[in-house]
């Protein structure tokens, strides 16, 4: 098979770094294949991508060992500008990588730099725009595009170089579900229709299992495993060892295997998982559906509420339309919906960052119109999507204590409250460290400690899992659970439905400025049509449970792989 890129015993250490980030990696990438790269944060995935077009080590410097050849060019011997013809790059952040002032300028930029004649540029623009389904957008300003469209434009700009290799580094991590679907559909079409060779880094296990030809698993700079997705994702123990999340289908069948119900091969894609269900001898092994009593209604009056809330932005956009919602003390609520559904607009009303155009918002029995943002900050702690925006002190302890004097706390109270918050968040040992020297998950924890010191009753997490690997996402959600157990009311906004069954009790599904559904989490996850109307897909475990219900004629309201697996009688028991 034709080889596009070959890595031969590659090791690399950034200047000033204590240890190498890539260690002795040998890998061959074949023409026309889709290679997925997975691994926990810090595994060296991005560095590997940057090594493919010579930016590592040509831009960064550092110590590089071994050889990389792309389209026959050694990445050490050829300048990045020459390698740019062979390797198209798409990065994580859709904002930063688009430099053009119009879609066609964006595509033309790299071609102009590489001195492609104008007539050729004019010929390539419509071709690549058609390939990513952005034809007709030539004159649009890239900043006016949605997240998914921006990433598709970045792909088009990379494709216009007619590269031998297209490298995408976590292109969907900052996108909502519809943007993610757009990018994966585009990449799949490029591979199938144009035979483009693709290397993609992603944490989206379900999509990677479905679309890639091979998976390279990196851990601490080493190539820990390499193989087809059906081999790699079927090894759930291996994935767990490296703190990676398996697709829920693989997880479900793996748990069935532990119960003695063994399949010849663990399916890793939804289609195969659904097709394999009848082979489990459902009539013999399936237990009756478990009972899940609905949560009792709260006897206490709401702590947060909106009545007939409408918000129209000055641009004329109606972001919320007649929304009524009540959240009670001690609840753990999930708010989901595509970008533009109104989630952030709703939450900003609770914080008084936005005021109602019509209707009313109350915190407890107080109308937010009569409260300042800082008054509300004492009741509601808000963790922004990027915790770094909330951090600016030189030690963890100073950061946690920073706002308290401004709120009128005495010196003694500042000390007492910051000590309590640091201990509650497990940061006491790090109190003298610089906040930015800690990993991102820990930085979120610092901001949470700073919020906790103000003793709020409610904590809002705004997209806390975006850009995090599985371990990082779980760590933050564990903090949310801890806060919930302390009696706080917790609200989480996220697109990652699969993460939430272990935490949230109730789901509010938003779409086009209204609440489409407000129900207990279990019930909401099974409302597939409502979820799909706001471009959300129920987790695979839910889809397996729905198929199980169809096959058995009984209703299985299950939402996690463990619940699905537990519905089957273990082999020893069933054979007795």
């Amino acid at each position: 098979m034709d080889i596009v890129a070959k890595l031969d015993r590659v090791s690399y250490q950034y200047p000033g770094a204590a240890a190498p980030v890539l260690k002795d990696i040998s890998l061959t990438i074949h023409r026309g294949e889709f290679l997925g790269i997975v691994g926990p944060t810090g595994a060296g995935k991005t560095t590997l991508c940057l090594a493919l077009n010579g930016i590592v080590p040509q831009f960064y410097g550092g110590r590089f060992f071994g050889h990389i050849a792309v389209a026959g060019l050694d990445t050490l011997d050829h300048p990045v500008s020459q390698l740019a013809r062979c390797v198209g790059m798409v990065f994580e952040d859709p904002e930063i990588q688009l430099t053009g002032t119009s879609v066609e300028n964006e595509i033309a930029f790299a071609l102009e730099n590489l001195r492609v004649p104008r007539a050729e540029i004019l010929a390539r623009i419509p071709r690549v725009l058609a390939a990513v389904r952005l034809a007709g957008f030539e004159q649009k300003n890239p900043q006016e595009l949605s997240g998914g469209q921006k990433q598709r434009l970045a792909i088009a700009a990379a494709l216009a170089l007619q590269p031998d290799l297209l490298v995408l580094d976590e292109p969907t991590s900052q996108l909502d579900p519809i943007g993610t679907q757009e990018v994966f559909a585009t990449v799949q079409a490029l591979k199938q229709e144009l035979g483009v060779t693709i290397v993609m880094v992603s944490h989206a296990a379900e999509e990677m299992a479905e679309f890639t030809d091979r998976i390279a698993l990196l851990s601490e700079g080493r190539l820990a495993a390499l193989g087809p997705p059906e081999d790699i994702y079927a090894q759930v123990d291996l994935l767990e060892h490296y703190h990676l999340r398996p697709p829920q289908v693989a997880d479900t069948y793996h748990q069935l295997d532990r119960r003695g119900i063994t399949m010849a091969a663990v399916p890793v894609t939804l289609d195969k998982g659904l097709a394999a269900l009848p082979a489990l001898q459902i009539s013999d092994r399936l237990l009756p559906p478990p009972e899940f009593p609905p949560p009792a209604p709260s006897p206490t009056p709401p702590i947060l509420s909106a009545q007939n809330l409408t918000h129209v932005y000055t641009s004329g956009t109606e972001a919320l339309r007649d929304v009524s919602v009540a959240i009670h003390p001690g609840e753990y609520v999930l708010i989901v919906g595509q970008n533009g559904a109104g989630k952030s607009t709703l939450v900003k009303h609770f914080l008084n960052l936005l005021q109602p155009t019509a209707g009313a918002v109350r915190v407890g029995d107080r109308d937010t119109r009569h409260l300042s943002v800082s008054d509300l900050a004492r009741s509601i702690g808000y963790l922004a999507q990027n915790p770094d925006n909330q951090i600016f002190n030189t030690t963890v302890e100073k950061e946690v204590a920073f706002a308290l004097p401004y709120l009128g706390y005495s010196a003694e109270a500042v000390k007492r409250e910051s000590l309590r918050a640091l201990k509650a968040m497990g940061l006491w040992g790090d109190r003298a460290a610089h906040p930015l020297s800690l990993p991102k998950g820990e930085r979120s924890r610092i901001v949470i400690a700073a919020l906790l010191a103000m003793q709020p009753d409610i904590i809002i997490f705004d997209e806390p899992t975006t850009g995090q690997d599985y371990r990082g996402a779980k760590a933050i959600l564990e903090v949310s659970r801890q806060l919930h157990q302390l009696g706080k009311t917790v609200i989480v906004i996220t697109h990652h439905l699969y993460l939430m069954p272990d935490y949230a009790q109730r789901a509010i599904v938003m779409g086009q400025g209204t609440i489409l559904l407000d129900a207990p989490l279990r019930q909401a996850y099974h409302q597939s049509e409502v979820l799909q109307s706001t471009y959300l897909v129920p987790p695979q475990a839910v889809q397996l449970a729905q198929e199980l219900s169809r096959l058995s004629g009984q209703t299985y309201p299950l939402i996690t792989p463990a619940e699905v697996a537990r519905c089957f009688r273990p082999r020893q028991e069933s054979s007795q």
Binding site: M89, T101, N105, A108, E112, N113, S372, D388, M454
Partner: protein, 287 residues
Amino acid sequence: MGFSSFQTVTRDSLFTRLDFRTKLVMLVTITLIAFTWESPIAGGLLALAVAIACLLAGVRLTYLGTVLKVMFPFYIFLLLSMGFFNVDQVKLLTGKTELTPLLSLPASWALIGGATMSVEGTLYGLNIVFKTLTMVLIIPLAIFTTDVNQMTIGMVRAKIPYKIVFIFSSTLRFVPLLLGEVQSIIEAQRLRGLDFERMNWFKRGRVYAAIAVPLILNALAKSQQLEIVLQSKGFSGSPHRTYLHESTLAPVDYALIGGFVALFAGAIAVYVGLGVGKFYWLLGSAG
């Protein structure tokens, strides 16, 4: 040609159709004339003409209002300082030995008691006000009516080094991003309980200074990411590149460039020969 977000003008006019080089010539010519003229009447007419041109080109009235609002304290300071203290220069320009008093402060006032504000000094202040106003208004007339891409090519064709041109266009691209970042940081701080409205200026200053930390760190991280993006797109700052958009001078561009050069030559000629635009022009000669 599509309008980018920097081209705040949405109206198609002569200005949007002109080549950027023509607008550069216009910018330089008008600025030089504004600098040359000392007459508040000539300066006022020039500033008025530029303001009308801005409005005709579709620059929003609110923008002009904001410019005036921002400049207003500076203009008041200029008028007062020129009216009270610019005595010698005005005497030289008018040839007068005594200036016409506009108002005098009571002699009983401490320190400034007895100071006199002159008509001539105030008129000279007014001349500087119009000079700066002309310059402040001519820039949006050139920039807001030009697509950034056309600006880039126009500047490259005008032999400005490509690297400088690229820094200029990326600044226009990233300023809004950074402003957005500042907004989100301030919002995040308010949500940590910092009540900016109730803080005194000293405290507020301290908090704003602290905000600079995440802002600078974010900006540094972004600029490194941008550098990597540019490298991967084969950008080297070399002027040896091709261009998607061609920049050609139309007959109207040639005519206007010629017109601006003639205007400048004419303005200098009548200034030197006939005193048009000199300080005392139409104010009563004292030369």
